[in-house]
Amino acid sequence: MPEPVCVIRTGSANLASVVAGLRRVHAAPEITTDPSVVRAANRLVLPGVGAFGAAMAQLQQASLVDAIREHVRSGKPFLAICLGLQLLGPASEESRGVDGLGLVDSRVARFPEGLIVPQLGWNRVEPADGCRLLQEGYAYYANSYRMTEVPSGWQGATSQHGGPFVAAIERGAQLACQFHPELSGAWGRELLERWLAASVASGGMPC
C-alpha cells in the first residue's frame, strides 16, 4: 500500500523529479498549496529551487508559513530538499531583509569567491556519528548558497566545496537535504526509503 506524502508546490521547483523519486520508493505524493491539507498531513515534503526571497513570498501568499512551522515543530515526518533546507533558517545572504521560516538557527551564505558556482554535480556526503538516516556516499547538488553550520538540536552531514558546508540535517523522522535525494541515484533512493520507513515507524496517519 503506497504511503501518502504531501508535497508543497513552491512554484518553480523540479516537482516532477521529486514526485517521480517518491513514487519509485512506493510513496503516493500529493501536490498541494492548501494550508488545511498541509495541517492535516502526517508526512510533509518542502522542495524548492530558485531564489530564497521568491520562495518565501510564495509561501506567505499561500498562507503556508504557519502550517509548515507547526508541522516541523510538532516533530511529524518532514523532508526538505535544496532550497527547502535553507528556508528553515532565519534568513539568507541571497535575499537580504527577507525572513525565513526561522525553525533552525544556522545562517545561509553564498559559496566563497573563486569557486565554480553554482555547485552542479556529485559531492561526497560525510555524516556525523549520531546520524541514523544519513549515510556516507555521493549526492547530487545544484546550489549557489549553503548552510554553514549544523543547527543546534539536529544531527548533520557535511560535504566540501571551498570548505565544509551542511549537506543535510536530521532529527527523528525529519530530514532536510541541501542535495537532491531524488536525483542522487541508488544512494538517494535508499535515503528516501529510510526516511519513509522512519516516518511509518513514527506513526502512520494518512496524508
Binding site: 518553480s12 516532477a16 529551487v49 565554480i116 553554482p118 545544484a142 549557489s144 538517494g188
Partner: protein
C-alpha cells in the same frame, strides 16, 4: 570535493535516440527511456536529452519522451532543443527535466536567459553553444543545428550569457561533433577560463584520454554520445579509466 561528471547525451528525433556526424546523417540508437536507465545503471552522473526533431510533429513527442525518461531516471536530466520561450522551458520542467538548455533562442533574443533564471534559478539554465572554428583561437557561434553561422564570437557569448543568468555552459565543437577525433581543447580551455560556472565539453569524444584531456583543460563535465550508444565502451569503464588518470569521479 565536487567530482567531475560524465554525461551521456541522447539526441532524440521523433521519439527515438539518433546520432550523426556534424549533426547530419542520423542513425537509430534505441529507445530513450531504455538508454537512460542503462546509462544510470552504468554510473552516468547526469543525462542530456536534445530534441533534434526536424518537424513540429516530431517535436510533439518531446514532452512525452521526457516523461517516460523521468519515470525511470533517478539522476539529473537536462533537456534542450526547440526551447523558444519561457513557457517551453516550463513545460519541459513540468514533464520532468531538471535543467533546460537553450541555444538558438538565446542567440536571437539573449533576454530569455535572464527571464529563465529569474523564474527557475540560474542552476536550471544551461546555455548550449555550438562553436565552429574560424581560425587559431577563434570560434563563431552556429545555430539551427549548425546550418547557420552567426556573427557572435563563442567565448564572448559565453561570458555574456553567464552575466545574463546562465548557470552552466554546454559547449559543443561543431567541427568535432560525431567525428570521434577528440574535443577541441583550445575551445574548452578558452571558455572555461572566461566563466566561473561549470562548462560541459562536448563534440568529438572517442577515448578516455579525450575525456581526461577536456577535464584537465578546465571542463567540469564531459559529454559523449557515439562512444556509449553503440556499445564500444560503458560509462563505468570510462569512469574507471578517468579515476586511474587521477581525476576525481563518483565511483
Amino acid at each position: 570535493m565536487l567530482t567531475r561528471r560524465v554525461i551521456p547525451c541522447l539526441d532524440v528525433r521523433d521519439g527515438r535516440v539518433v546520432k550523426g556526424v556534424r549533426f547530419q546523417g542520423l542513425r537509430d540508437a534505441g529507445d530513450p527511456a531504455e538508454r537512460a536507465a542503462a546509462y544510470e545503471a552504468q554510473g552516468a552522473d547526469e543525462l542530456v536529452l536534445l530534441d533534434v526533431s526536424a518537424t513540429p510533429e516530431g517535436r510533439g513527442h518531446a514532452l512525452d519522451t521526457v516523461r517516460r525518461v523521468r519515470d525511470v531516471l533517478g539522476i539529473p536530466l537536462t533537456v534542450g532543443g526547440g526551447v523558444r520561450v519561457v513557457d517551453d522551458a516550463a513545460a519541459l520542467l513540468d514533464a520532468g527535466a531538471d535543467k533546460v538548455a537553450v541555444n538558438t533562442a538565446a542567440v536571437r533574443a539573449p533576454e530569455i536567459l535572464g527571464m529563465l533564471a529569474e523564474r527557475f534559478g540560474c542552476q536550471c539554465v544551461v546555455l548550449a553553444i555550438d562553436a565552429a572554428s574560424t581560425g587559431p583561437g577563434a570560434w563563431s557561434v552556429v545555430v539551427r543545428s549548425g546550418t547557420e553561422r552567426t556573427r557572435r564570437e563563442a567565448v564572448g557569448w559565453a561570458r555574456e550569457a553567464v552575466h545574463r543568468g546562465a548557470g552552466e555552459i554546454l559547449l559543443t565543437s561543431w567541427d568535432r561533433d560525431g567525428t570521434r577525433s577528440g574535443y577541441d581543447l583550445e575551445l574548452v580551455s578558452a571558455v572555461s577560463r572566461a566563466v566561473r560556472v561549470p562548462v560541459i565539453a562536448s563534440g568529438g569524444a572517442d577515448t578516455s584520454e579525450h575525456l581526461a584531456a577536456a577535464l584537465r583543460a578546465g571542463a567540469s563535465a564531459v559529454l559523449a554520445a557515439s562512444i556509449f550508444h553503440y556499445g564500444d565502451t560503458t560509462v563505468a569503464a570510462i569512469k574507471a579509466e578517468l579515476a586511474a588518470c587521477g581525476l576525481e569521479v563518483r565511483p
